[in-house]
Amino acid sequence: MSSMPQTRFEPENRGGAATVGKAVKIVGQIFSKEDLYVDGEVEGTVEATEHKLTIGPNGIVKASVKAREVVVLGSISGNVEATEKLEIRKEAKLVGDIKTARIIIEDGAYFKGSIDIVKPEPAKAPPKPAAPAAPSANAAPATAGAAEVKR
């Protein structure tokens, strides 16, 4: 057995998310079709409308942000729209206006801006096939009227 220390290169666990590393700066628009972890700098816009966006502790985002779920450990300057949930963790900083269905703010987080709670629209039920033998409530008086004419 070797006594040499082994160097291990293991990617940090981001849950399979795409990552903007802490030494990376992006100026422009980011559209993501998978979960995204930003630990670097971003200026512009970030959209991951169907996915989770995490701003890591080193992340500095000066952008408007749209995602299904947003978790902030670093800093965001810009408006945030999180259709499901927004979490602002302890030590995080968010300056901007928020629209979300649910918000979690840990003690120690800094937030400046407005909060609009937007309840998600209830899922629409698929249209049922019309049953020919069951008249609708609106149609009932007409049916009754027709019956009276027959008499």
Binding site: I88, I103, I104, I105, E106, D107, A109, Y110, F111, K112, G113, S114, I115, D116, I117
Partner: protein, 234 residues
């Protein structure tokens, strides 16, 4: 002496009467507030709040209002206010106060710095808010800054809307407990102790009335602890 609960509210309408705040006690070094972690730092307790009850009583049955909370964002306050269907604006007033003035020892009477501070904290259109949770922040403002802040507050709230402010009852202290306020219910507050801080000014009831001389009315609630609750109608 402990008083048995909130005893009474004193309501005085002074519509149209201008006036300048004349603090009972002005701390000349108040511009440089001192934060000091006391032994009780971090402790919290719940207390009934007639002022809070009155504040929310005035907007009962309404939704879609715009409320400003100057105490910084807390989960409880966000939940409570947004659950009522209102839009909440959050400002961590004391943090910005510290960054603007205390950090480099700047004077709270410096006009340029006052303007910068107002831009940071209260830069909103006229008549924008339907209510403001002021909490205890006004005690940490020196006279010139206090006057500017109160004037700005009056501008950004709608006529006939309400402000809720707290003042220490003992107006002769060098250091006062700095609090965080979390709404536990329509008339219940969780009050957290954030350490001792040197107030810029302390006020008695008369001087509180003078501060808000341009507002429509000021209503005091006596409480059983060391905080006076005040409802101000714009």
């Amino acid at each position: 002496m402990l008083l048995p609960g909130p005893l009474k509210g004193m309501f005085r309408s002074r519509s149209g009467q201008p006036g300048n705040g004349t603090p009972l006690h002005h701390n000349p070094v108040g511009a440089k507030a001192v934060m000091r972690n006391g032994a009780a730092h971090g402790e919290s307790s719940t207390r009934p709040s007639r002022g809070l009850e009155e504040f929310f009583g005035q907007i009962r049955g309404q939704s879609g209002l715009t409320i400003l909370d100057l105490g910084g964002a807390t989960q409880k306050n966000v939940n409570f206010i947004t659950d009522l269907g209102h839009r909440l604006y959050s400002e961590d007033f004391l943090k910005i106060l510290h960054e603007t003035f205390d950090a480099d020892g700047a004077d709270q009477s410096n006009p340029g710095r006052i303007e910068f501070f107002l831009k940071q904290t209260l830069d909103y259109p006229d008549s924008y808010f339907d209510g403001v949770l002021v909490w205890d922040i006004l005690e940490y403002l020196a006279p010139a800054l206090l006057t500017a802040v109160v004037e700005r507050l009056q501008r950004i709230v709608r006529p006939r809307s309400y402000l809720l402010a707290f003042f220490h009852a003992d107006d002769k202290q060098e250091l006062v407990q700095c609090y965080s306020f979390k709404i536990d219910g329509v008339s219940v507050l969780e009050v957290g102790q954030q350490g001792m801080r040197r107030p810029a000014q302390l006020f008695n009831n008369r001087s509180v009335e003078k501060i808000f001389g341009k507002f429509d009315s000021v209503k005091f609630f006596l409480t059983r602890d060391r905080l006076r609750e005040v409802i101000i109608k714009a």
